[in-house]
């Protein structure tokens, strides 16, 4: 048992740090952070990463993966978070691509993977439905065979960035017999197909991230189905465990915690810095201690992966604790912002408003409520853990 890193690993760390410093400019960072310029900016950044060859670390090397060791992966994520570099949009690069690689046919791989790699297509995820949230397998969107096509009818909801998407990967019902998990197929659908409507959902952070996607007699070639008909649940399930692990956002929370310390070092109350307030100190410490633990929980998961184990009991734990920590950070940022946590800054500049982080605190806090709901709500994670891990 040790956490020693090799010289090569440490050299890699420095290389990553240098790369981010050189290529992720403040100007680009600002465009990524602004909801209005986010789409183009993140694509621009992802193309830079693709050029570097770092866009899809976990893919097989033959498709462009990096073949990194666990230590390299760990350092990459840590440096990325420390530099404030955003994660890639996951739906293409981390989600549907995994399913295509594992279960798609050669034609599908050749058709979709390069465009995902180069961010030529923007993907979104069609899982949840109005009546099927935590109970995902209760989904009702129907796909009925008609020659070489399926005719799809139904609606997907909470679809992040559907307004930008070229493609959506969907779970649809193709059979009604047996358990509700059987009879589900995994389809890739071109968002430009006639019959698709995207309805904006304004969320409580006053941003437009979420959508409803309605399918009205949408024709989808059977060739766009991944794997076998009615086996889609099996393919999707693999993603869910990986999604749980990703949602933990351990490295990002580390960066955010540093930001909070910096804020507490600057903001004053009654002429004293907030960092001198014992209650603020203890709240920071409580978060930091949980996060220090979670960093090692994540390493334990990673080292389990390295030994060929799938996501074990620690992955639900990562989701549960990771999201709790995120929300504690969001709450503390709100509290540090005081009255300014309530401000909708709109077009006002920081200097016009007279404040720097209140609006962001509010946006992150409000949107952050979703983290314990999506990716399998935390209640569902506890049910799973009780059953699978504790045998209850």
């Amino acid at each position: 048992m040790d956490i020693q890193f090799s010289e090569a690993d440490l050299a890699f760390r420095d290389q990553v740090r240098e790369f981010f410093k050189e290529h992720f400019s403040d100007e680009l960072a600002a465009r990524v952070a602004n909801p209005k310029t986010f789409r183009d900016a993140i694509v621009e950044w992802q193309k830079i990463l693709a050029k570097k060859g770092w866009i899809a670390p976990n893919w097989p090397v033959e498709h462009g993966g990096t073949g990194w060791s666990i230590a390299q992966e760990y350092f990459y994520e840590r440096e990325r978070a420390a530099a404030g570099v955003p994660d890639v949009v996951p739906f293409g690069l981390k989600m549907v691509s995994q399913v295509i690689i594992a279960f798609g046919n050669d034609e599908q791989k050749q058709r979709f993977l390069p465009r995902i790699y180069h961010s030529d297509d923007w993907w979104c995820q069609g899982y949840s439905e109005p009546g099927a949230g935590s109970d995902l397998a209760a989904l009702k969107t129907r796909a009925v065979r008609d020659g070489d096509d399926y005719i799809v009818n139904g609606a997907k909801i909470w679809t992040t960035y559907a307004q930008y998407a070229d493609w959506i990967f969907c779970l649809v019902r193709t059979g009604t017999e047996g358990k509700k998990q059987s009879g589900i197929s995994f389809l890739l659908i071109d968002m430009k197909t006639p019959g698709i409507t995207v309805n904006k959902i304004e969320s409580i952070d006053n941003n437009h991230t979420l959508n409803e996607v309605v399918f009205d007699n949408v024709r989808v070639p059977v060739a766009n189905r991944i794997g076998e008909e009615n086996k889609g649940w099996t393919y999707a399930k693999v993603l869910l465990a990986h999604e749980r692990t990703a949602i933990a956002e351990v490295a990002r929370s580390g960066r955010f915690l540093s930001e909070l310390k910096a804020i507490a070092n600057t903001e004053v109350s009654g002429g004293k810095r907030l960092i001198e307030d014992t209650m603020i100190q203890q709240r920071l410490a409580e978060i930091e201690i949980e996060l220090m633990a979670l960093e090692y929980t994540e390493l334990r998961v990673l080292s389990g992966f390295a030994e060929g184990k799938g996501p074990g009991p620690e992955s639900s734990l990562l989701k549960l604790k990771g999201t709790e920590i995120q929300q504690a950070i969001q709450q503390l940022r709100m509290d540090l912002a005081g009255y300014y946590s309530g401000v909708l800054q709109g077009e006002l500049s920081n200097s016009e408003l007279g404040h720097e982080f209140g609006d962001r605190a509010r946006r992150e806090y409000m949107y952050g409520r979703a983290s314990t709901i999506y990716g399998g709500s935390n209640e569902v994670q506890k049910n799973i853990t009780a059953k699978v891990v504790l045998g209850l």
Partner: protein
């Protein structure tokens, strides 16, 4: 000892509840909030006609002469209806400062304007560096004949853009954080040198940054250098009223969540049948009832002028913050994806609750003030 409302109080309560049921649906409220200053002038006029704008003012100033209990009753119902009209800024803060400062001509005139609905006001007490410290005041006032000249910047002035008049805290003596040497001044928002940058807050209400650049004609309200006591008295009254509003919100959120859990089906049954969720909704209920108990404690001791009134109030404000976080967080979580949408009312109630937590100091801040009273330290 009793915890029942008087007949008059029951009438106020019913009157507000009826207004909300009939004329203040969430859709209507959404329209009101979208109006120029974040509220509906016609609704405000209705408030005036129903007499609600007169409730806290003494009868000598044309008011209803209401007690803390009366204010509690109206505010709790406002909370349930998520009323966005600037009752707190105009009636409780601006009007409260006037009513507490004497019964001279200015008070008579302005308060009658508040009561008849023609006057909007606000209280500019925050500055960029002040956080929750009401005594941290850098804005200055200098004598200019019988009147004063103001310079400085005030931030997050609730109702600042709609207000015709503002009361501004300014330093007339002492150091930046001294309680002594703060005075209150009445200014006209149309006066030269006053510039206003308005913005909406997350609860739909509006606030503004007010820059005061050699603003002349400011009238002293209350005694020179002695404004802090006045501020404290009015802030305490208002804090109590906000807690009553929060109580209404918490009850509404708990009720809404329980009802939603009875209809939302997952895994073949209403989610309200899941024991883990039941126990969490019980925790919401318990937190709400504990807050109600402290609310009753604080209004009773306020009306009785008890020596424990401040301690009771601080305890209440702390619990409103803590219980509000629990109840607001669970309300969104148990609504699942629906809780994330701005179309549903839940998020809006939660945001108002968060704003109330912050106003006049959050739970942690007020708990530290409570500690001083409770342990007799420092």
């Amino acid at each position: 000892m009793n915890f029942n409302l008087s007949e008059e109080q029951s009438m106020i309560k019913d009157s507000v509840a009826r207004f909300i049921a009939d004329d203040y649906s969430f859709e209507q409220r959404t329209k009101n909030v979208a109006m120029e200053h974040g509220f509906n002038p016609a609704t405000w006029q209705t408030f005036a006609e129903l007499g609600w704008l007169s409730i806290p003012f003494p009868s000598s100033l044309g008011g209803f002469g209401g007690s803390a209990v009366d204010t509690m009753v109206i505010m709790e119902e406002f909370g349930k209806g998520l009323v966005a009209e600037p009752y707190v800024a105009t009636v409780l803060l601006f009007g409260g400062l006037l009513a507490h400062s004497g019964e001279g001509e200015i008070q008579q005139e302005l308060i009658s304007g508040i009561i008849d609905g023609s006057l909007q006001g606000g209280f500019a007490y925050l500055e960029r560096q002040s956080r929750f410290e009401l005594s941290d005041v850098k804005t200055t006032a200098a004598a200019d004949g019988e009147l004063y000249r103001l310079n400085g910047e005030k931030t997050v002035v609730f109702n600042g853009a709609a207000a015709n008049k503002l009361i501004v805290s300014a330093r007339t003596a002492g150091d930046q954080c001294d309680e002594n040497g703060i005075s209150l001044f009445l200014i006209d928002t149309q006066a030269e040198g006053v510039s206003v940058v308005a913005y909406p807050m997350m609860d739909g209400q509006q606030a503004a940054n007010i820059t005061l650049n050699n603003v002349t004609g400011a009238q002293l309200i209350g005694e020179l250098h002695q404004g802090f006591g006045l501020i404290q008295a009015v802030v305490n009254d208002t804090m109590l009223a906000l807690c009553a509003e929060a109580q209404g919100i918490m009850q509404k959120l708990t009720d809404t969540t329980v009802e939603y859990s009875k209809t939302r089906e997952q895994f073949g049954t209403a989610i309200g049948n899941f024991q883990a969720l039941q126990h969490r909704m019980v925790d919401m209920f318990v937190a709400g009832e504990q807050t109600r108990s402290l609310l009753y404690r604080a209004v009773c001791s306020a009306d009785a002028n008890s020596e424990d009134a401040l301690k009771d109030l601080l305890a209440l404000k702390v619990m409103v913050g803590r219980a509000g976080k629990l109840i607001g967080g669970e309300a969104i979580q148990l609504h699942g994806g629906m809780g994330m949408t701005d179309e549903l009312d839940v998020g809006h109630y939660v945001k108002r609750l968060m704003m109330i937590n912050t106003t006049f100091g959050d739970a942690d801040y007020n708990q530290q003030k409570f500690v001083k009273l409770s342990t007799q330290l420092g």
